[in-house]
Amino acid sequence: MSTVLSTLDLLVLLAVLRLDEEAYGVAIADAVGEARGRPAAVATIYVALERLQERGLVTSALGEPTAERGGRAKRFFRITPQGVKTVRATREALTRLWDGVPALRRRPS
């Protein structure tokens, strides 16, 4: 199994971490959209979340149905220890790649 995440999966996991107890589909989509500077389709986020759940990187639980959602419940997502570990591994991999490109290395101030 790959230990490095795709960009979208990484963004979704980071959004789940940041949103904590308020991490559900449309809120995660908003956070991802804000981070990358263009809107993210909620359906795309759900596909990513399903993929991450199958890999054991997130878990989910249903909330209470509400009228403003047409009587449907929210599904809240939480990152698993395996998910946190994968985020760290991805960050380290990206940092190593980053450092290997002198032109992109941060200049000392």
């Binding site: 989509a29 795309t44 449907r72």
Partner: protein, 398 residues
């Protein structure tokens, strides 16, 4: 904005087995994001769902492709409809005047009804067609309806960008009776005020309420004479050389029609008009008999035409239902002064005589005319030949 997502889009999501929580998320965000956003989400879900199912269950490919196509077509249609502004954003209704109008009824004395004179403006940068207006009149005290008046304003030709229609007079069907005049009715101690709500729409868009006004306690019978007098000029006029010209009233004013060509008439004085095409000058004047004269002046030549008037008894013999097909009849009726014609599903229009048997009917807003020629066959049965836009139909009376 509508707070409920499009039903078709929701149905497609369910059919594509979208997770309930995704449908709930979209429902929650719909009031802020709107129809276009919602359909975009459905399209994205259809695409990603098809791809994932194809990997897992290749046998479902054809079904999913069909569903994705259906989603695409439905979304394109919905987004296109959404892109067109609704009736409220497109049309502006200006209530120019309200008041009370005296309607003469030969048998029962005058009926004093509330009226509103409105104009409609196309607020957008593109032409709109199928413009209609409907006024609902109610008693101010208890809200009881006093009737409504539906009127197409620019059914086929539409309103150009920024264009304002001519005045549209909307009248209630009920009102005050018993008073000798509108002025007397307004002064009466038991006079009841009225309100008018004006709705408008274009194309197949929903009606929008665009005006709501109290009807002024004013007698507008005399004030509306100019609007009504334009209608009074409509008809066929026979000139001394035997030529018959038609005066039509279209949404932007009067037209002089002759030999299949219609020239717009612009107002030069209360009863005088100039034909735009050839500068003919037309002056209308009433006759004591109720007929009308038109004096046409062009390059020093003066012709006086007299409107064709046919005795009521000669007109009334054509009253009846004329069979257009197995299921459709055209009704020729009588409004107390004139023959009228009502095609299936259409409004009633007056018939203007050109002779005892030849008539024309104009669709005031559709800017179209039809010719009707009545006759009797060998068995004594009446029939009518209808000619419109090059088509001709024979309809026997029932």
């Amino acid at each position: 904005m509508n707070r409920r997502p499009p039903r078709l889009a929701e149905w497609l999501l369910t059919t594509l087995q979208a997770p309930d929580e995704l449908v709930g998320d979209l429902h929650e965000r719909f009031p802020r994001r709107g129809v276009t956003w919602y359909w975009r989400e459905v399209v994205v879900f259809a695409g990603t769902s098809a791809r994932r199912r194809l990997v897992r269950h290749p046998i479902h490919l054809a079904w999913h492709l069909a569903m994705v196509c259906a989603v695409g077509v439905a979304a394109a249609y919905a987004v296109q409809r959404q892109a067109q502004p609704n009736s409220g954003e497109t049309l502006l209704v200006e209530v120019e005047r309200t008041g009370w109008l005296e309607v003469r009824r030969p048998a029962d004395g005058p009926l004093v009804v509330p009226v509103a004179l409105v104009r409609l403006t196309n607020r957008t940068a593109r032409p709109v067609t199928g413009v209609q207006v409907n006024a609902v009149f109610r008693r101010a005290a208890d809200g009881i309806e006093w009737g409504n008046h539906w009127q197409p304003v620019a059914r086929t030709v539409g309103l150009a960008p920024g264009e304002t229609s001519g005045p549209v007079l909307l009248t209630a069907g009920h009102g005050h009776t018993g008073a000798p005049s509108a002025a007397a009715a307004i002064r009466h101690a038991q006079f009841v005020d009225a309100r008018v709500q004006v709705f408008a729409r274009y194309g197949s868009h929903a009606w929008a309420k665009l005006a709501d006004a109290a009807v002024d306690r004013t007698d507008v019978t005399a004030g509306l004479e100019q609007v009504r007098s334009l209608e009074s000029f409509v008809g066929a006029y026979r000139l001394p050389d035997g030529v018959v010209v038609r005066i039509l009233l279209l949404k932007d004013g009067l037209r002089l029609a002759h030999d299949g060509v219609a020239a717009r008439l612009t107002s030069a004085a209360p009863r005088t008009f100039i034909a735009e095409r050839d500068d003919r000058r037309l002056s209308f004047s009433p006759e004591p008999s109720g007929a009308a004269l038109v004096t046409i002046t062009m390059q020093g030549r003066v012709q006086v035409g007299r409107r064709v008037v046919v005795p009521a008894d000669d007109l009334r013999r054509w009253i009846g239902d004329y069979v257009l097909s197995d299921t459709m009849v055209m009704r020729v009726g009588w409004d107390g002064e004139r023959l009228t014609v009502q095609a299936p599903g259409a409004s009633t229009h007056p018939l203007f005589p050109e002779s005892e048997t030849r008539f024309f009917v104009q669709d005031y807003e559709a800017e179209d005319t039809a010719d009707l020629e009545f006759d009797v066959d060998d068995t004594g049965r009446a029939f009518v030949l209808i000619s419109q836009s090059g088509a001709r139909q024979r309809a026997p009376r029932k």
